[in-house]
Symmetry: C2
Subunit: 716 residues, 2 copies
């Protein structure tokens, strides 16, 4: 009853807001028309009008976001799951797009074609206009298609609503991607790292080439039936493949989170989608870089191909190093200063350093978004251990809000763009072909790779997991941002339109079908372990009891995005690779644990105990008093990290273990020596743990047990 | 010892960062030069270079901010108080400005004058360039002085570092001003509201006209001695008066905060500076609006004057209404939905609604910054009571970080602008005149108004307070933003240069001299009550014990910006106006408490008990279950608000009271009836409380007492 009244209220406020917005738009339009009367102050007036129009446009999006938020609340309130917030944002965007396009008369207050002047020289970034002695400065906006000159002026407002595509890349994507990286520090993620990297790199490459080749076939078909007259090269097809290979299962993951679906499946999907975004960006820019070398033949050219591969590797590793280095620098700064006494300064520093990664990478010619991703991962892995508790929460919440706003903005914009973008090219054959191609591309990514991975994994990726991964191949923000980045040519415009439709379809249909699909595939949820992506483990938080899930969020708020759930068994769906395949990883782990963590953070064993004795002075200089404290007191606040990490290693080691109830020798573990011993000691229990059917009552008991243990932490 | 090592570390990282940044800049420059070789892809390359250069520039500022943060930490760590973070930011900005100007060879990779073309028609916002069939779109940047054409191209990088002034108004000021408004919900503020408004409106107007007239004299003098050849009208002088009347005692207030200086003085200074920012903006735009009416005579014209006054009132009230309405809408939305279950949604909504105020006001032709200020006040007064505890913290922290970053950015930019801005006009006479004028203007603002106010105040604004207010007339971000907004004419350029120097001088000298000045004026600190500007009172927080300062921050973090201090006596420096002058305010208070608060928030008495009986159905529809609960349970979580508000009323009422230790009848208070009774009952104690010398030991006891009371809250 009350919910109904609330719904009515929301609907009313929704309508009201829309009306207000339409009124404002109309006013702006009218005023603009009125302003056109005088000739004298026309420039100043135009600038003012332009500013006002910009405000109205931004207001449009903000109203859209506000509406979306209110409706999300309503949906959450009533536990509606068939439509996710991103889908909702798109629907609102579509509605406003329709109104903008058809509802408002084409005001076009200066629908005269703009004055043009001719020059012999090449275009420069600045142009001066000499107007009877007065000089006006103009800046280059870009090349414009002749066809567009009239189009553009046809309805100025529509054009205004269309943002500069670079806004997506430079403003909206970084917080989204950083947030993804920052929330990756999860046992489940690292446990499945091998598989995730395989899917992300190899899988995305497969998907890109499969889709590219299939689409080339479609293009040939279109040319054969006379549906295509303009240029459409093979590289364009490959580019489309790269663009559309970036998956974004945000809808699916939100539902997983709500239903507490399987943690490993969550980790696989989340990790894959985060990583393949990075791969898709670099892949697409490598393909673009391939283009000019072919000199219009666009045939296969071995040297150009290898050059592209080189570019791919160069950009990827460069961005990776950039991100990692900034993360490491932040970790060092936060370790060696006492900034943690001032959470505001700490948060600001963290934010600035993370942002500077993006700019640094862009300034050096690498890809900022990719750098930001790895920066996020490094920050979560190292810096987070140095931050004060307050800052850990602040940074998490700050990026959460930014991520939320940016994501919903992109999805609203997508809805809007379907109607306001001026150069859509709807080609039914191309669209149908693309739908089939992405399906095939996804299938050739998931199934063969899963088969190969299963050869090496002890805990196989089962059939129903594979089907779910296949199903969760939604396309989202990244595909859109890549597609809108360049819509100059006919081919690119067709791709953009198709991408938009694919995003709509997959988000609505696959996103909405997640819950039925989960039941249909018999993927357990509700009692499984939830993979929580919203906090970073903090060494200082003293709930690091064996048996308490360190992924658990302590925050006792009413935030139902993060319902607390103390779950006992940690071994479900634990992946196990063969020991021999893990030596590299184990080497890295030992190095990380013994040297990197102690150098970069307050956690881990003191360097004095891990470094050879001749490095003594250096080691004692780099070790902070806090690290000694941690080591001396046996109630090491970082035990959870160690256990956690140890756990991680085990899975790449011989046997899967459960840290649950296992009383490991902490000092040994802290010295990074305990893992193999432990791995063997508890190896036997792991086999039993493979049985997936756990009595839920027992689990609850365990869960309660962990909570009871909680306040006693200090007495250990 | 360790601090020294830390300092050395910071210094090293500082140097390193500067080197990195210079290297990057050089690389960008070199690459740009290399890029100029080819002619074919020159536009694309230029666009890329421009993007890269933009990244480097932003990186410059981010490095500056990072450096500032690290040095702030160092200063806080060592309790250095002679230089505030804003002063520091300016110094770093200056250093980088010097390097940019003199350290780097003028790369100017396209130092040829840009191509220009002639047209007959007036300039339009878009210009097309026909280049042998290819069309390029250019957008208008603005009129350019002929003198500048060569200047501009002389060193492209310097020009690039110069941001679009509108960035300050549309991006950097709103969070600063919103934060100021959002942190105004303080007893001390409302207690001194009358005085604050007097200083802000009347005082700023006096200051503006005094400075304007004095400067007109200076301009005449300059013309007489032949130092001024260009135009400089009376309205320009008035404009300068408006620009430079916006005070920004952020440095002083930070030190007040640290030293726990007198709460009322803090409130007077903080309130005045926040309000006079708004007044200065609107005043300056009214003066600009006055200009064209005079048609180049720039003499006094009564009709134009009244038109300007009308514009002032129109813009001010329009912006006020805009801000208040958005705040009220947000309050209603948060009240009638159950958004508080989802802090992320709530925070996002809050952020969006607050931002939309700005856009809405701009779209309607009002002043966004002013609207945002009043929106912040409304949000703090109403919406804050509906938010969940989590969201209250989140919103506070979010705006705190934004405010911090924006403010430090502006101050670094100021330092930078002294060397990178291309059109400085240093006129010694004008600058000297301006320094004298602002001194006289401030004096004629503070002393006469204080005299007038003291006629009405029972708790006089004493002489040393007046001197401190005089001394605290620093100029900051707002003066700079107003001055940089338009630097097209000679007069404006001279004003900009002068404003910059005034800001530097006042922030460094007056800001640095705050601590000595406080001792010299015998203004007590350390045991006085601290006026805390960093949280909003929340009805749900159950520390609303009589005797506990509701301004106290609960947050038990290590944030030393907000050191906890439970202080007993609340009556120091309490202002008392005569009863007759307060009836209007009391009327408003009763209305607000009985109707607005219950309608807009969950706090206050249920409407069913305050509205006449025939409004019964409406009242019960508008009252939420939470409000009934609050009323029914005698341990009303809103008691602190009520006491707080009651306290506020008393000061406008007959007698000053101390809520400390006064066991008021809460149900009565909750019905808004208790205040007069209380006011009389405790009236006697207030006189004693006027004695300012309080035994600090006693205070500590009281303070401890309040902490002990704290956990027993629930049992009352």
């Amino acid at each position: 009853m009350e919910a109904l009244r609330n719904a009515a209220c929301t609907a009313r406020s929704t309508t009201m807001m829309m009306l207000v917005w339409i009124f404002l738009n109309a006013v702006a339009g009218l005023k603009a028309e009125g302003g056109g009367m005088e000739e004298e102050l026309v420039t100043e007036k135009e600038a003012e009008e332009s500013h006002r129009q910009d405000s109205v446009n931004l207001l449009t999006f903000i109203s859209l976001l506000t509406l979306t938020i209110l409706t999300i609340w309503l949906f959450k309130h009533r536990r509606v799951r068939f439509l996710h917030e991103t889908g909702l944002a798109m629907i609102y965007g579509l509605l406003v797009g329709v109104i903008l396009r058809y509802g408002i008369p084409a005001t076009s207050y200066h629908n005269k074609t703009p004055p043009s002047c001719s020059l012999k020289e090449g275009p420069s970034s600045t142009l001066l206009l000499n107007l009877s002695g007065k000089f006006f400065e103009y800046t280059l906006k870009g090349e414009i298609n002749f066809r567009e000159i009239h189009n553009v002026e046809q309805n100025d407002m529509l054009r205004k609503v269309t943002f500069d595509p670079e806004v997506f890349f430079n403003i909206l994507l970084p917080p989204i991607i950083f947030h993804a990286g920052y929330s990756l520090k999860k046992r489940h993620f690292f446990r499945n790292l091998g598989s995730i990297i395989t899917y992300a790199f190899l899988g995305t490459a497969i998907s890109c080439f499969v889709i590219g080749n299939l689409m080339y076939g479609v293009v040939k078909l279109m040319r054969a039936v006379g549906q295509l007259t303009d240029k459409f090269y093979y590289t364009d097809c490959l580019f489309f493949g790269a663009v559309i290979s970036a998956t974004d299962p945000v809808t699916v993951l939100a539902i997983f989170n709500e239903l507490h679906a399987d943690g490993d499946l969550y980790a696989l999907l989340f990790g894959e989608s985060v990583m393949n975004d990075a791969v898709a960006i670099v892949l697409s820019s490598s393909i673009v870089a391939y283009q000019p070398a072919g000199a219009n033949t666009h045939k296969f050219d071995a040297s150009a191909f290898f050059k592209s591969v080189g570019i791919f590797l160069g950009i990827f590793s460069g961005s990776f190093v950039m991100g990692a280095v900034t993360g490491v620098v932040t970790a060092l700064v936060t370790k060696f200063t006492k900034l943690h006494c001032f959470p505001l300064l700490e948060t600001a520093l963290f934010f600035l350093m993370s942002w500077s990664t993006f700019l640094l990478a862009e300034a050096c010619g690498f890809t900022g978004v990719v750098a930001v991703l790895f920066c996020g991962i490094t920050q979560a892995h190292y810096t987070c251990n140095n931050l004060s508790e307050e800052s850990t929460k602040r940074t998490k919440q700050l990026f959460e809000v930014l991520h939320f706003l940016a994501e919903n903005f992109i999805f609203s914009y997508m809805g809007l763009a379907l109607f306001t973008f001026q150069n859509h090219i709807f080609s039914p054959i191309f669209i149908m072909g693309a739908f089939i191609a992405i399906f095939i591309g996804r299938a050739l990514n998931i199934y063969p790779l899963s088969f190969l991975l299963n050869l090496g994994r002890r805990d196989k990726i089962r059939g129903n997991f594979q089907h779910m991964m296949m199903f969760a191949g939604l396309r989202g923000a990244m595909a859109f941002a890549l597609a809108i980045r360049d819509t100059a040519t006919y081919a690119r415009q067709m791709m953009f339109t198709t991408t938009l439709l694919i995003v709509f379809f997959t988000v609505w249909v696959f996103g909405g079908g997640t819950t039925p699909m989960l039941s249909w595939l018999h993927i357990r949820f509700g009692n499984g372990k939830r993979f929580q992506d919203e906090r970073c483990q903090h060494g200082k938080w003293e709930y690091s009891r064996v048996g308490v899930d360190p992924d658990q969020d302590l925050q006792p708020s009413g935030d139902s995005f993060q319902v607390l759930q103390g779950d006992g068994p940690q071994d479900e769906g634990q992946s196990k690779t063969k020991q021999e395949s893990a030596w590299l990883f184990r080497l890295w782990y030992t190095f990380d644990h013994n040297y990197l963590k102690p150098i970069l953070t307050h956690s881990g064993p003191p360097l004095t105990s891990t470094l050879p004795s001749y490095c003594g002075p250096l080691a004692s200089c780099l070790t902070t008093p806090r690290a000694y404290e941690n080591d001396e007191q046996l109630r090491d606040p970082n035990t959870d990290l160690i256990h956690n990490d140890a756990d991680l290693t085990f899975t790449f080691g011989d046997a899967a273990i459960t840290t649950n109830g296992a009383s490991t020798s902490r000092t040994d573990a802290a010295r990074g020596l305990g893992w193999s011993a432990n791995g063997k000691r508890i190896g036997s229990t792991s086999e039993e743990a493979l049985e997936r059917e756990l009595d839920s009552r027992e689990q609850e008991l365990l869960s309660r047990g962990t909570r009871l243990v909680f306040p006693m932490e200090d007495h250990v």
